[in-house]
Symmetry: C3
Subunit: 465 residues, 3 copies
C-alpha cells in the first residue's frame, strides 16, 4: 500500500466529520513540509510564527498566526523549533496548558544534551502532554512522498491518550507509527536518526584491517618474492589472484570470530561457576555484533566464490593451460591421470560449495523478516548447530586445499607461510576448544550453570521457572 | 505462528465467555467462506438472505434468516453483497441503526466509482458505523487456510470503537489487521487488490523495449554481418553470446537511469532557485519508480553474471580453445605471455565482480524488512553513496572491457559500434554531470536550496526546523 | 532501534511518574531474568517466594516477600512457576481477586495437557484476569540483550484492559508485543516455542530420501558399472559428478511436486462438481507445505548451479580436455565444428539459466517481507504463472540436455536409464495434465466451480459476493 493520500490537494473529507485542526509552531523547512503533508491528508493546518506577516512559502490553505493565537486553534501543537529556542515557550504556559505538544526535533550529535529534547520540553511546560514523534522522517521525504527508508515514525509519550491521538495522525499521513512506550524512550529516538550503522563499525574496521594486512602479506609472497628471485613481473596478480587469497582468509577468520565469544563466555561461566555475573564489556559488545561479523564474513565468502568461478575465463589461466598442453605436445609426453589428485581437487571444491551454501542459509535466516518467523529454538538450531557445521565445512575446505603443501618447504617463501595457513589458526583453535566443551562431563556442568545453578548455592528452586 | 484456529469444527470456547454472534448479509461464495472461517474460530454466525429457505451450502451450525431478522441477532453485520445491490439496505435503516457494517466489497476496475463502496454505504445508512475490511483476502484463501500472500487485512473506519471490534475479529481469525485510519482510506483499500505491480510497469516495459532493440542490433552485427561477408553460420550465438551482450548493456543503462532523475531534479532546483515548486509529473513518476528500475537492472546484471560464468562450459568455447592450441602445436609456434593483456583481462573482471557485489548489497538493502531497520541517514548513505560507487565500478568495468577496441575500425561493422559503446553513453554523461554538481560552489548552492533557502526570499528562519 | 533500556542500572524515571510495581511469583531462572530486565527498564519489582529469606541471586533493588505479601504490592503478577505447582495458588484466591496474572509458562512437549496452562490458570482462579505472554522469550535472551530471534512476545487474554497493560510492559522492555486475541490462542502460543520447523519436515525428509536413492542409483551406474566392465577407478566422481546428477534431479522432482497438488485438487473438484467438500488430509497437508517444498527445490537448484560452474576448475576436467587436445595433436587430426552441437549445448545452458533466474525470483517473493507487500492478485501471478514458466523452462533444460541420448542404448547401463530420465517423469506428466486442464471447455467448468457454482445446485446467487 502506498500513501493513503498522494494528491496535491486535500481530499474531500467525509461529510460527517469536521476537518481536524493541527497547529504547527515554526515555519522552517520541516514545519512547512509536515504542514504540507497534513493539508494533503485533510487536516486544517494553522502555523504559529514570530512574524506571521513575514512568513511565506506555506502550503496553500494554511493560516499563519502569532504563537498564542495559533495555539488556541488546536489541541495538538507540533513544535517544529530548535531546542535552543524552547525557553520562549514558557511565555505561553497558560495557553498551552492541557494541550498535546509534539516534539519533532533532532540534535546534531548523539547524546548532545544530558536529557532528551522531549523531556526538556516536558520539564519546561509541566501542564502539557509531550509526545515525541516525526523526528525519524525527513522534510524531503514528506514533500516527495518517497518514503522508502522511513515510513516508520517512532512515537513515545507519558500520556497514553495524547500518544494515541498523535499515532492516529501518523497513520492518516500514510506512515507507520511504532509505539516506543513512555517519554523515557525519547533519548533513544532522538539518537536514532544520527546513527550510521553503529553495530557494523567494529566488523567493518576489523575486516578492513585484516584485508590490508593480508593484501601486503600476499604481495610480498606472490609479487615481490618472484620479482626478487626470478625477475618475473607478476603485478597483474594484484587484480584477482591476490584478492582471491585475501578474501577467503578474511571470511574464515571472521566466521571463526563469530563463534569465539560464545566459547569464551562458556569458559568464563565455567570458571566463575555462575551465569549471573556480567561479562567484561568488550565480550558483551563482541557478542552483540556477531550477526554483523557473520554477514561481513558472508560478503567476503561471496566475493571469494565469484573470484574463483571466473578463474577459467582469465587470460592468464587460459594462456597457462594452453602452454602446458603445447609443451607436452612438443615433447610428446603424455600425463597420467592421478585419482588421488582428482579426489583432492573435487573434495575441496565440494566442501567449499556446501560450506558456502550453508553460510548463505545462515545469512538468509538473519534477514529481519525471516528471523521474526522462527521461534527461539529454531533460531538457535540454525545459528548454532548449522553455524558450526558451516565453520567445520569451511575449515575442512581450507585444510584439504592446503593438502600436503603444509609440509613442503617451497611454500614458505622468506619463512612466510601461505595465507591459508594464517586463515586456519583461529578456526582450528576454536574447534578444538568447542570439542572439549561439548564433552559430556563439561557440557553437563555448563548446562547446569546456564539453567541458573550456582556453584556455592544450596537453594532448591525446582518449582520455579 | 500459523492460524490460531485451523480445525474444522469450532473450538470449545472459554467457559467464561458466550459465543459472540456475527451476522453475514449475503450467502455468496465470499460470505459463506468468511462465515465458515468465523464458525471455525468460535463465532456464532447468522446469515441474512433474501430467500432464507433456499440458501444451502452454508457452514454447519450457521443459521439463515431474512435480512431484518438476521440483523437483530448481532451488532456486527458483514455486508457480503455487491455494491449495485446496496440500495435495498435503506429499507433496513431502522434495524441497522447504531450497528457496525463491515464492507468487504471489491470492484472490477480501479476507481470504478467516484467514491469508494464503503463511503457510499456510509452515505446510504448515516446512522451506522461503516468499517472497511477483509476485501484483500480471497474466498479461496479463507477456505484453504493458505494465506501466504494476504494474511494482512487492511481496515479503516471513522468510528474507532467499531474499528477496534472489527480488528479484534480479524485477529481472532488468525489474520493480521492493519489500521489504515479513517474511511477516507477506503478508496485506496478497494483499489489495492486490483493492482498488478503498478510501480513495476514502466521499468519492465522500458527494459523489454531496450532488450528487443539491442537484440536485433546485435543480431545484425554478430549474425547477419558474418553471414553476408563470410557465409558463416553463427546462428548458435542467439542462445548465449548475444543475450550476454544485451543483458549487461540493459543493466548498465537502467542503473544509470536510476540516478539520472536525481541529477535532473538537482539541475531543475538550481535553475528555479527553490525546492518548493513541484517537479513535472514525468520526473515525479520517474523518481518514484527508481527502486524498481534498480531491481530490474540488478536482475539483468545477475543474468549477465551467470551467462559469463558458463562461458568455459560451452562447446563453442572449448572447441575454439582446443583449435587454437592445435594450430599452434602444428605450427610449432609458442605464444608469449602479455602482462598488459593479463592486467586488462583481470582488472575488468575484478571491477565487474566488485560492481556486482555492491549492486547486490543495494538490492538486499531495498528488501522491505531490511530498509525498515535502517534510518534515513543510513538509507541515503547506502542508496546514494554506495549507489554511485556501484555505477562508477560498472562503468569502469565496461570501459576497461572495451579497452583499445574503441578506436579499432574493425569493431565498427556497417558503421554500427559494439553494444558496449551504446551502454556507456548515458552512464558517462550522468557521471560527468554529477561530477560538476558536486563541485564545492555548485554543491553549496544546492545544499542551501535543499535546506529550504529560496533565491529571492529575504526571510530569516534560523530558529525553525 | 535497539532496546530502549540497555544500561545495567535503572534509568531515572520521569519525575512526574512513580515507579510502577510488578510482582513476580517464583525466583527461578526465568523469573529472575525477567525481574532483572524490568528493574533495568525502571519498574519496581517484588518477588514472591515460598522461602523469602532463602532466595538469593535476585536483581539488586528487588524485594522478596511471601507470596501473599508480594501479591498485595502490585496489580500485575507474573506467574513464573511450573504448571504442576499452580494449584497452591488457590490458597491466594482472595488476594489475587481482580489482579492481572501473567502466565509465562512453557511445556516440555507439544499439546502436553488437554487445555493450555493459561486457560488452566484462569479456571483455577476465576476472579483474575489471565494474560499469556513472555513464553516465547528465553531467560538467556533477557539477560544478554541478544534478542535476534525473539523480540516478538505473543500476548493473548480475554480482558482487553489487562492485555493492554501487559502489552505496555512488553513495549517498555524493548520487545515487540503481538496481540493474538483471546485466551483461546494460548494453546497455540504455548506450542510455538516447542516447534522445530514443523512445515519443513515433510519436504526435508522427502528430499533426503530422494537424494539417498538417487545417489546410490548413480553410484551403480557411474562407479560400479565402469569398475565391473572396465576395471576403472571412478570413485573420485562421488565428490562432484554424482552430486551434480542427484541435485538437479531432486530439484526438478520437488519443483513438480509443488504444482502437482494444485492439479490433483482441480481434478478432484471437477470430479466432485463442487469446491465445498474438504480435500483428503494428505492433500491438504501437501498444499500447505508447497512453499517449503519449493524453497528446498531452490536450494538443490542453487547447489546444481554452483556444482556446474566449478566444472572447468576441476582437475579431472582440465586433464581430460588437455588429453583430448594432445591425442588430436599427436594424430594430427583436426576436429570440425558442429553448429548443431553448439546450438544444443548453448540452448540447454541458456534454458537452465533462465529457469534458475525465475526460480530465484519465486524464492525472493516468498520472503515474508516481500510477500506482505504484494496483494493476492500479484502473489498468484508470481507463484502460479511465473511458477509454471519456471517449471517449463527447467523441464525443457533437462530435455535438451538429454537430447538424442534418450534412444541411445549405451546410456542404459544394466537397463538403468540415466538420472535425468527419472527426473523428467513427474514434470512431464504434470505439464500434460495441466495442458489438458487449461483447455477452454475444462477451464470454464473449473472456474465456475471455483466461483462457488455446484453441479446440482439451482440457486441463483448473483447478488452476493
Amino acid at each position: 500500500m502506498e500513501d493513503t493520500c498522494t494528491d496535491e490537494f486535500p481530499l474531500t473529507m467525509n461529510s460527517s466529520e469536521k476537518e481536524e485542526a493541527v497547529c504547527v509552531f515554526g515555519t522552517g523547512d520541516f514545519g512547512r513540509s509536515l504542514g504540507f503533508k497534513m493539508r494533503q491528508c485533510g487536516y486544517s493546518v494553522v502555523f504559529g510564527s514570530r512574524n506571521p506577516q513575514m512568513s511565506s512559502l506555506l502550503p496553500s490553505g494554511a493560516e499563519v498566526l502569532s504563537y498564542s493565537e495559533a495555539a488556541q486553534k488546536s489541541d495538538i501543537i507540533i513544535v517544529a523549533i530548535h531546542r535552543e529556542h524552547y525557553d520562549f515557550l514558557t511565555e505561553l504556559t497558560k495557553v498551552l496548558k492541557g494541550k498535546i505538544l509534539v516534539d519533532v526535533s533532532n540534535n546534531l550529535k548523539v547524546n548532545q544534551y544530558p536529557e532528551s529534547n522531549a523531556e526538556y520540553l516536558a520539564q519546561l511546560l509541566p501542564g502539557t502532554h509531550v509526545v515525541k514523534a516525526f523526528n525519524t522522517i525527513s522534510a524531503w521525504a514528506l514533500q516527495s512522498g518517497a518514503l522508502d527508508a522511513s515510513r516508520q515514525v517512532l512515537v513515545c509519550g507519558n500520556d497514553s491518550k495524547a500518544k494515541q491521538r498523535v499515532i492516529n495522525i501518523v497513520r492518516t499521513l500514510g506512515l507507520t507509527p511504532l509505539d516506543q512506550g513512555s517519554l523515557m524512550a525519547a533519548k533513544e529516538i532522538e539518537n536514532y536518526p544520527l546513527q550510521l550503522f553503529p553495530m557494523w563499525r567494529f566488523p567493518i574496521y576489523l575486516s578492513a584491517a585484516l584485508c590490508i594486512f593480508l593484501f601486503f602479506y600476499c604481495v610480498i609472497r606472490d609479487v615481490i618474492y618472484p620479482y626478487v628471485y626470478g625477475k618475473k613481473n607478476e603485478t597483474f596478480r594484484l587484480a584477482i589472484s591476490i584478492p582471491n587469497r585475501v578474501f577467503p582468509t578474511v571470511a574464515l577468520i571472521l566466521l571463526a570470530l563469530v563463534y569465539l565469544p560464545g566459547v569464551l563466555a562458556a569458559i568464563l561461566q565455567l570458571y566463575r561457576g555462575t551465569k549471573y555475573r556480567r561479562f567484561p564489556a568488550w565480550l558483551d559488545h563482541w557478542m552483540l555484533c556477531r550477526k554483523q561479523l557473520g554477514l561481513v564474513a558472508l560478503g567476503f565468502a561471496f566475493l571469494h566464490v565469484l573470484y574463483t568461478l571466473v578463474i577459467p575465463i582469465r587470460y592468464f589461466v587460459r594462456w597457462k593451460l594452453k602452454n602446458i598442453t603445447l609443451t607436452q605436445a612438443m615433447t610428446n609426453k603424455d600425463s597420467s591421470f592421478s585419482t588421488s589428485t582428482a579426489w583432492r581437487s573435487d573434495s575441496y571444491v565440494a566442501l567449499g560449495i556446501l560450506g558456502f551454501f550453508l553460510f548463505l542459509l545462515l545469512g538468509i535466516t538473519s534477514l529481519p523478516s525471516v528471523s521474526n518467523t522462527v521461534n527461539w529454538r529454531e533460531f538457535r538450531f540454525v545459528q548454532s548447530k548449522l553455524g558450526y557445521v558451516t565453520l567445520i565445512l569451511c575449515t575442512a575446505h581450507t585444510l584439504v586445499y592446503g593438502g600436503q603443501r603444509f609440509l613442503s618447504p617451497s611454500s614458505y617463501r622468506w619463512y612466510l607461510p601461505p595465507a591459508y595457513v594464517l586463515a586456519l589458526i583461529i578456526p582450528c583453535t576454536l574447534l578444538v576448544i568447542k570439542f572439549v566443551l561439548i564433552m559430556p562431563c563439561i557440557d553437563k556442568a555448563l548446562t547446569r550453570i546456564r539453567q541458573g545453578w550456582e556453584r556455592k548455592s544450596a537453594l532448591n528452586r525446582k518449582t520455579d521457572i
